[in-house]
Symmetry: C2
Subunit: 238 residues, 2 copies
């Protein structure tokens, strides 16, 4: 937690915040905060700043907060990922958020097991929590937009063209002759397939929506590793 | 497991392999292999190829193996990471291996807790196992060299200059004025600090060894995310 992320409902007055629960325990036990110490804080959807610890009790602490700094800019990236195994989902949401993706779409695909959509990790609370963890890691306050697309074709063929308009449109497809481009200075919409890849009908849908098939090289990377490597490659100049 | 990684001792004759244990269970239960099926295989330190399942028993299977393809090239990267928490160590070893780092150094630093060096995960068997998992993921056969450097100064000041000779020498240092360079076409030695960063004396040692301080941008990334993002950024053209 490199940032104590505050919500509107934490404020007890204009500049005074009261924290209990997970954030309190983390600040007390990991940061080992004391009265008088300043912590890096940020208000969700708003600015970053400092919070001075003014009291520290058994179950809560209070901070005097000044917010004065803009959060880091987002990458102009819409990341579309085929819904991964529940075990992997949390890591991908947190790491894509920490990298600064502006928007994340979890998409169904032929090789996505149906049970993944019913995982408890798909509860709205968890989908929010994992993104908050990513913001706390990166020192950011702005949630990436999250969309769940449970039906492949209606999403890719009907919604995606508008969603991706004005961006460079790429989908990862093993064996594609073109390598993924690098150092782009434009918005990018990038789709990563499930373990085992997109089936040909899915690749055709992406192509029909104006997406270009790109190869990620000879190595097969785990999705969260691929997301980070591609973010570094595509936005190397940001 | 995108590759069944074979060891010399798995061979029962020149082209015949017998597998039991973890790889047997994975091939039987996850790949759901049957007699007559061909699997992607590779011999550790050697070539890739195909293994035809010739028998499948209760506790072992046999493959007829042909090795004919070179493994993917390594990134010309020596990655130096301050020893991370045990929980994180496995992920970093596997992901850095999957990305193709040629050499990994686990380095002590002021902000590395001493107990990390005594973790059971530091056992040689585990350090090997995690790299094998990274090779199986990526479809590679060549282990990255692994070095443990338990003493910061003797390593950085005495060994590192020779180890890094002829490479571009970079160490990540929050707030450094220069951003990490991109699209390099030369060997790179890159050092990533612990949570909390390098202390000034450590930064001075790196500078004394010819290393340049580079910034990774305004976001604080988890080490394994940073490793992948930097690999993509630095070797974007490979």
């Amino acid at each position: 937690m490199n940032l104590v992320l505050l919500l509107e409902e934490d404020f007890t007055s204009a500049q005074r915040v009261r924290l209990s629960g997970r954030r309190f325990h983390h600040v007390r036990d990991v940061h080992r905060a004391e009265v008088g110490q300043a912590l890096k804080v940020g208000l969700l959807g708003d600015r970053l700043g400092r919070g001075l610890v003014t009291s520290l009790g058994e179950a809560a602490l209070e901070l005097d907060v000044v917010l004065e700094q803009e959060p880091p800019p987002k990458l102009p990236l819409t990341l579309i990922v085929a819904l991964p195994r529940p075990k992997v989902l949390n890591r991908i949401l947190a790491s894509a958020t920490s990298l600064g993706a502006a928007r994340i779409v979890l998409l169904n695909a032929w090789k996505v097991e149906k049970s993944y959509w019913k995982s408890p990790r798909m509860a709205e609370e968890n989908l929010l929590h994992q993104r908050l963890l990513g913001l706390e890691q990166a020192g950011d306050t702005v949630l990436p937009e999250l969309r769940l697309a449970r039906l492949f074709r209606p999403f890719v063929e009907e919604e995606l063209p508008a969603l991706a308009e004005g961006s460079r449109k790429l989908f990862a497809h093993p064996g594609a002759p073109r390598p993924c481009p690098r150092d782009l200075r434009e918005p990018v919409t990038l789709a990563l397939g499930p373990e085992g890849g997109w089936v040909e009908a899915e690749a055709a849908s992406f192509q029909g929506a104006g997406f270009e098939a790109v190869s990620l090289g000879p190595r097969i990377l785990r999705t969260e590793t691929a997301v980070a490597a591609l973010a570094g490659r595509i936005f190397g100049d940001t």
